[in-house]
Amino acid sequence: MIRLRGIGKRFAGRTLFQGLDLDLVPGHTTVIVGKSGSGKSTLLRVCNQLERHDTGTVECGPIAIPADLPVREWQRRATALRRRTGMVFQGFQLFPHLNVLDNVTLAPRVVQGVARAAAEVKAKELLELVSMRDAASRFPARLSGGEAQRVAIARALATDPEVLLLDEPTAALDPASTASVVAVLRDLRQRGFTLAMVTHDPDLGREIADTLFDLDANRGPTGDR
């Protein structure tokens, strides 16, 4: 489980949050809400260290990442942390030079050293889970937004992450595509996956959350607000 303790983050001379605590409890779905521009996405990206924090500690199992590590050691620990998490981006970020199947199998093969055949068996199961099994040989440019985001979810799950981080996963989608992605998220929650999601959509947040984390109420004394 990911544990944030006393996290502070400044951005462009402004304190986004300070002294913030957050636990992503296994089997729970945590939804982070807050005003636009409040730093929701930044907080989520601190969870897998795509953003470094300025104070406090991020913990995940035996890995502890205090704020003031030297760059090399931080890189080593951040990579270890990321190997225990998965992330889904607002803009999908599928790899355009690889087809759907290769997008899903790349990380298991490269990062975990799984054999191609085994990785493909598992990738096909995950594509089945997100209803994209038939798209295995297509390239990302030929997918609709909803299809691409579901493939992105399968890709993020392929390394068996302890927690799946979702950064505004439906913000770039039309209503029909949104519904298909939400259906997948609901299914994942039912199956007991640990999810942490940032969304600007309060209805979606309320519907899917076990825990609703309101950043505006928890950002701590920022001093300039």
């Binding site: 795509l50 990321r82 992330m87 970020q93 790899f95 990380a107 490269v110 440019a141 390394t159």
Partner: protein, 496 residues
């Protein structure tokens, strides 16, 4: 040459050779009116013919031919003026009218006779074989079978080496570079005209002349085919300078006087210019074989050097984007250095500069591949860098979020995408390199363009051979451009 003209020439020559009181034919009207005769010569590495003496730079151009031209002008009553032209292009430059006659240690070879008209000889020269320091047991070309012998391209020495099966000619644009390579040990010997060997010996004190000078040949002046009036005037003027001792005085001044020169006045020598050589034409089988060999060498040098440029360029781009600071600066310095200096200078430094050190002595082929590869790597590095920067940040974040290290991200996500972006500009660069590869001729590597130059100079068929050579270049570069476009279209199909 028609029999009538030949008879007239024989008569004229016999007249010149036998009359002791030399009659001077009048200089054609056009030259008298201009008051000047322009003579073409190459001053590069031109001692003792025409050169700038580094010890006496204030004197300007000096040389025995400078003296000879001055005396010739005095006899003919006009000023003389030298025009610079590369030795190998003297014939076409003369035909084009860049100057009026050639005076540059020029030999009356059968090929040249078909293009220009030669004067009576003014100097009899022999061949001198020279070997490197510490070489023993070499007395003649026959002792150098299986070895490379340096010669000036298109010269008499070149032809003599070609007539010795088993001795491989190494062709140079200047005797100085041939002697330099002999010092460096790249070639086993060098064959040159005696005047050249004598004049340049002080520059290369470690080299040794072996065997007696051999093979009589003649230096003569050349005029345009239709300029027989000028030829007669020059013939008579040479006769005058020979008769009044001026030639001997000039040759003694330059340490060129040999007993052989006494035969300059004999009829068989004076008539040498009238030797009507059989009209030689290209042997097409040999021509195509030589051009094909040149094309294969061009292809080989281009492909190998571009492979080097691609690999090295990628490393440099990655270092510039992801390396530690000192390496980043070194990579930047590399790019600016190789882009900002002429490739010609880089090649000469690589070949002749490094060649001074035994351990760093590269042969022309490897020096060419290395020089072109190092130069183009700088350009490829910039193409890769631009392409890598064009990959969206989200792609890098997606790779990192999956737990990849920076190296894994580069290898599997950003570099493969960047390579697709570089395909079109890199193909352009390869086609450019393909044509630029002709520059390796300056380090004595005979590729397609050089082969063309030599064949065209020998035959005068600049246009026909030029078209054939161009077709060979196109035949090699077009399929490549076509394949690159096809590959690109296939990628586009996947992406859109």
């Amino acid at each position: 040459m028609s029999p009538l003209v030949r008879i007239l020439l024989l008569l004229a020559a016999a007249f010149v050779a036998t009359s002791s009181a030399v009659a001077q034919s009048a200089l054609p009207e056009q030259y008298r009116r201009a008051g000047v005769l322009r003579w073409g010569a190459d001053a590069e590495g031109g001692a003792p013919f025409v050169f700038l003496d580094p010890a006496r730079p204030a004197e300007g151009e000096v040389g025995f031919e400078v003296d000879l031209a001055r005396e010739l002008g005095a006899v003919l009553g006009v000023r003389t003026e030298r025009v610079q032209a590369p030795y190998e292009n003297l014939v076409p430059a003369l035909e084009r009218g860049d100057f009026d006659f050639v005076l540059n240690g020029f030999e009356a070879t059968p090929e040249r006779r078909t293009k220009v008209r030669f004067s009576r000889p003014y100097y009899i020269f022999n061949q001198q074989l020279t070997v490197g320091p510490g070489t023993t047991g070499v007395r003649s070309l026959g002792d150098l079978v299986g070895k490379r012998v340096g010669v000036l391209g298109q010269s008499m020495s070149h032809q003599i080496v070609l007539a010795h099966p088993g001795v491989e000619p190494a062709i140079y644009e200047s005797n100085v570079t041939a002697y330099q390579d002999l010092v460096n040990g790249r070639i086993a010997g060098s064959l040159a005209d005696v005047p050249i060997a004598r004049a340049q010996r002080p520059l290369f004190p470690t080299l040794v002349d072996v065997g007696e000078p051999f093979h009589d040949a003649f230096y003569a002046m050349a005029v345009r085919r239709e300029d027989d009036g000028l030829q007669r005037a020059i013939d008579d003027a040479v006769g005058t300078l020979l008769a009044n001792g001026t030639l001997e005085r000039i040759y003694r001044k330059w340490d060129l006087w040999t007993a052989a020169q006494q035969r300059l006045g004999t009829p068989e020598v004076a008539l040498a210019h009238a030797d009507a050589a059989a009209q030689t034409d290209l042997d097409w089988g040999t021509t195509f074989a030589l051009l094909g060999l040149g094309a294969a060498r061009t292809l080989l040098v281009s492909v190998l050097s571009f492979a080097l440029a691609l690999a090295l360029g990628l490393c440099i781009a990655l270092i510039r984007l992801h390396g530690p600071a000192p390496l980043r600066w070194a990579a930047l310095a590399y790019v600016e250095l190789f882009r900002g200096t002429p490739i010609l200078v880089q090649l000469l430094l690589l070949y002749y500069g490094l060649g001074q050190f035994e351990a760093l002595r590269l042969d022309a082929f490897y020096a060419g591949v290395l020089g072109l590869g190092l130069n183009y790597a700088a350009y490829e590095a910039e193409i890769y860098r631009g392409a890598l920067l064009a990959i969206p940040r989200g792609q890098r974040e997606a790779a990192l979020a999956l737990g990849m290290t920076t190296l894994q991200m580069l290898r599997h996500v950003t570099v493969p995408q960047a390579l697709r972006l570089t395909l079109a500009p890199s193909t352009n660069d390869f086609i450019a390199l393909f044509k630029d590869s002709s520059i390796v001729m300056v380090i004595s590597y005979v590729e397609l363009t050089k082969q063309y130059q030599m064949l065209a100079n020998a035959s005068g068929r600049f246009v026909l051979l030029g078209l054939i050579t161009s077709a060979l270049y196109l035949a090699m570069s077009l399929p490549l451009a076509f394949a690159a476009r096809r590959f690109e279209r296939r990628l586009d199909r996947d992406r859109a």
